[in-house]
């Protein structure tokens, strides 16, 4: 007889799926929103319970989806890392929807708002399934659910730009999932398994056979590249800025905070549970990911410096931040993976905070999206200003904020003994340069939004009314909560990193 809490991952997935399906019958946007928020809260509680149980007992468990165990049926597997990330995802989606609510109501026609929330529900379901899955093909199916839902929340704003961004996103995503699935099929042809626990010994056995290193390198490369395309790693990031920059605020926040991370978690699970990190490193795939990650850190920041459109600037900064994650993964050590997971959590809170705050600032500036017109906007919407300041400073790497800890942990992981020297130097240089560039584009914006203008004016000389825009309680709560989490992550870094490291050891 299994413990009752072990059912929770399965409950979460189906709770999200069913609330999405039932939302079809709710034609009213407000009710659909209530259903989605309630679902996310429930799922957060359930996942949090799993996290507490597993991390206190320091265990993980598998859950057969049906009467048939490992190599025959589907399985879920939950441990501290998976359940923690799922809890984070729920909370981030909850805050994003709360903070972006006003923009949502304006950007999406009332009769289609319930469809938007259906997409959000299924997005949540797919993220849970991606984190908990123990099976490569289930991973593929839920990747596809994730893709279609993510594309739909981009296009929900329904203007020419977003539809164009969506189709580019869709095509790149399908290329990614196609390459990933081809890799999985090759793995199946060689090993005859799809479940991670059965794949692990099979792959280890293949490693003893020297002649099979080449196909293993190609297929693991294909799986990594497929997931990298979907999580916008450097040369494949072209779809990201337009998609994240033009979508409605809540969508941008969810996309950059959560959706990109879902694929990376699957990648981490593949790295740790199908292969071992050392194997990935010895196949050369790790170095490729490392180099691309380092390039992304610089390239994304450089483009963010050149950008004048507020949301697109933040989107380019996402490209750089995804680079940090891949830099950590590319080190192919447990410490590197721990750093990557910490960065996933930190970025999952910081970037939505920035997007939501920017959304608030843009609303307070008469919907002008250029950075220039945001001058003094923080005084018109103080909560948004504070949120942007905290988020921006965290990205720059101010001590006691989450971003600083990421850089620190990543640097420590790169300085370990077993890391080759070129990787050590590259990693440190990339972190340093990228932090400088971050400071270069975030600090001026932070200063500008706090600069008190006697009479703030828009492009046609119209004067903004200081008190016209009331951001609302849910916006303030969302920004405040996310800011607090960012600060807490920075202050309580050490126990949290240790928690993750213990979880990684259990993966």
């Amino acid at each position: 007889m299994r413990m009752f809490y072990e059912n929770f991952p399965f409950f979460c997935v189906f709770l999200a799926l069913l609330s999405g399906i039932l939302t079809t019958l709710v034609r009213d946007g407000k009710k659909a929103r209530a259903v989605t928020l309630a679902m996310l809260l429930c799922a957060a509680v359930l996942n949090g319970a799993v996290f507490l149980e597993t991390s206190l007992r320091n265990v993980n468990f598998t859950y057969a989806m049906g009467a048939f165990p490992a190599p025959w049926g589907n399985e879920l597997r939950a441990g501290p890392v998976e359940s923690m990330l799922c809890t984070v995802f729920c909370l981030v989606m909850l805050f994003s929807l709360m903070g972006g609510g006003k923009d949502l109501e304006e950007d999406i026609l009332p009769e289609k708002q319930n469809l938007y929330y259906i997409m959000m529900d299924l997005l949540a379901a797919s993220l849970f399934a991606l984190s908990y899955t123990n099976d490569m093909f289930t991973g593929y199916v839920f990747i596809e659910i994730n893709t279609i839902a993510a594309c739909s929340i981009v296009m929900a704003r329904d203007c020419g730009q977003t539809i164009l961004a969506t189709i580019r996103y869709l095509i790149m995503s399908l290329v990614g999932s196609g390459v990933f699935l081809f890799g999985v099929s090759m793995l199946y042809t060689i090993t005859g398994h799809l479940l991670m626990p059965s794949l692990y010994p099979a792959v280890t056995a293949l490693f003893d056979n020297d002649s099979l290193h080449y196909p293993l390198a190609v297929l693991s490369g294909m799986m990594c590249v497929g997931l990298a395309v979907k999580s916008a790693l450097f040369p494949f990031h072209t779809w990201l800025p337009t998609a994240h920059g033009s979508a409605t605020t809540a969508s941008s926040a969810v996309l950059s905070g959560v959706v990109l991370k879902g694929y990376i978690i699957l990648l981490i699970k593949i790295m740790c549970r199908v292969f071992t990190p050392e194997e990935i490193g010895s196949l050369g795939v790790g170095s490729v990911l490392f180099v691309l990650g380092a390039c992304a850190m610089i390239y994304g920041s450089v483009w963010a410096v050149r950008e004048t459109h507020a949301k697109r600037m933040i989107a380019y900064s996402s490209v750089a931040q995804v680079g940090y994650i891949y830099l950590g993964l590319g080190l192919c050590t447990p410490a590197g993976i721990t750093a990557a997971i910490f960065q996933i959590v930190a970025h999952a809170f910081t970037k939505p905070l920035l997007f939501i705050a920017t959304g608030g600032l843009i609303r307070a500036s008469g919907h002008q999206k250029k950075l220039y017109y945001l001058r003094g906007a923080a005084w018109r919407n103080v909560a948004a200003g504070l949120g942007f300041t905290v988020g921006g400073l965290s990205m720059v790497g101010l001590p006691l904020l989450a971003g600083f800890v990421t850089k620190l942990v990543l640097g420590q992981a790169a300085l370990a003994e077993e890391i080759p020297q070129w990787q050590m130097i590259t990693a440190l240089a990339a972190i340093a340069v990228s932090s400088l560039l971050n400071a270069w584009y975030y600090l001026p914006v932070i200063l500008q939004i706090w600069k008190k203008e006697p009479e703030p004016r828009g492009p046609e000389g119209e004067v903004y009314d200081e008190h016209k825009e009331n951001p609302g309680l849910s916006f303030r709560t969302a920004v405040l909560c996310m800011s607090i989490v960012v600060v807490l992550l920075g202050c309580l870094a050490r126990p949290f990193v240790q928690l993750i490291a213990r979880g990684v050891a259990l993966l």
């Binding site: 999405g20 079809t24 019958l25 049906g66 329904d158 042809t189 080449y214």
Partner: protein, 306 residues
């Protein structure tokens, strides 16, 4: 080269201007001036940009195709390392497939072993897949359902006119043939649907055949006739009902199986129509959902409404 007649007809249908159709806007009172029809012509500096753009594009395309070729070579050499096609001792022929084949009938109860796998052994995957279909339909509705952003007054009037014309000039031959064929097609679809556990087919194939039959119905008898029994409400009820039924069945199986409780759904005699436990109801549910979705795709693409 002369095009064959059927091709020309198809071409004309696709183009949407059968000779009988008058100019759709000729005598419709239309307050808005027609301005969207202008061809997008580039002038001035943008022309220069476009020229530069295409040269740049050519370069990137050439580079990209080179990358693709390298990728193809990599994959081809990998294929050379793969085990020989059709061998009996290849890796996929392991204990997994052995159990599916040798115990599938006894454990799950369907003689079609593929159905056993997709609906019971790997039922979670397949539920995810029907959710993809559900999401696809939702996304298409989100994009194409006529609203004030994507449909102008002019579009709506043109649509109404062409509907009225269709109503007047219904193709007699198609109507008669459809009347004869419709029961047969429905029967065939239902057979494939309900016999999914005994013969090839199942919910997805059967459902698409049923959906195709609905599409044919609409073409032959007009949208209004189909709408009389298949409107928004029916569509939503069937779709949501089918998915919920499916979810309940699959959740029950998963919960019971995972917690080691006894499964109360009987498996029946293998080979008979009422056998294989949850497979038959799931197939019916999937079939209904697929049929609804396919028909919804059709109508939203054509009319922007159900």
């Amino acid at each position: 080269m002369k095009k064959p007649l059927w091709y020309e007809k198809l071409e004309r249908w696709v183009e949407g201007d059968s000779p009988a159709l008058p100019e759709p806007l000729a005598h419709v009172e239309n307050p808005e001036p027609v301005k969207e029809e202008e061809a997008p012509v580039q002038h001035g500096p943008s022309l220069l940009r476009s020229a530069g753009g295409t040269a740049m594009n050519r370069l990137t395309t050439a580079f990209g195709i080179l990358c693709c070729a390298i990728f193809a070579l990599l994959m081809l050499t990998t294929v050379a390392y793969l085990p020989r096609f059709g061998d009996a001792d290849n890796a996929p022929e392991n204990e997994t497939s052995r159990r599916y084949i040798e115990q599938g009938l006894e454990e799950v109860g369907a003689t079609n072993l593929v159905t056993n796998i997709i609906l019971v052994y790997r039922g979670f995957d397949t539920y995810g897949e029907s959710c993809v279909l559900f999401l696809g339909a939702t996304a298409v509705i989100m994009l194409l359902e006529a609203d004030r952003k994507n449909t102008s007054q002019k579009d709506r009037l043109a649509l109404r006119r062409s509907d009225a014309l269709d109503e007047e000039e219904r193709n007699q031959i198609l109507g008669h043939i459809t009347t004869v064929l419709m029961p047969v097609i429905f029967l065939y679809g239902l057979y494939i649907l309900c016999n999914g556990h005994l013969s090839p087919g199942g919910g997805f194939a059967g459902g698409s055949i049923l959906g195709g039959a609905l599409i044919l119905c609409e073409n032959a008898f007009g949208a209004r006739r189909v709408q009389s029994f298949f409107n928004h409400k029916v569509y939503h009820i069937i779709k949501v009902g089918a998915l919920i039924l499916y979810a309940v069945l699959i959740c029950y199986t998963i919960y019971v199986g995972a917690n080691g409780l006894p499964n109360l759904i009987p498996l029946g005699t293998p080979g008979s129509i009422l056998s294989a436990g949850i497979i038959l109801p799931i197939n019916v549910a999937v079939g209904l959902e697929v049929a609804c979705t396919m028909y919804a795709f059709y109508t939203y693409f054509g009319r922007g409404d159900l």
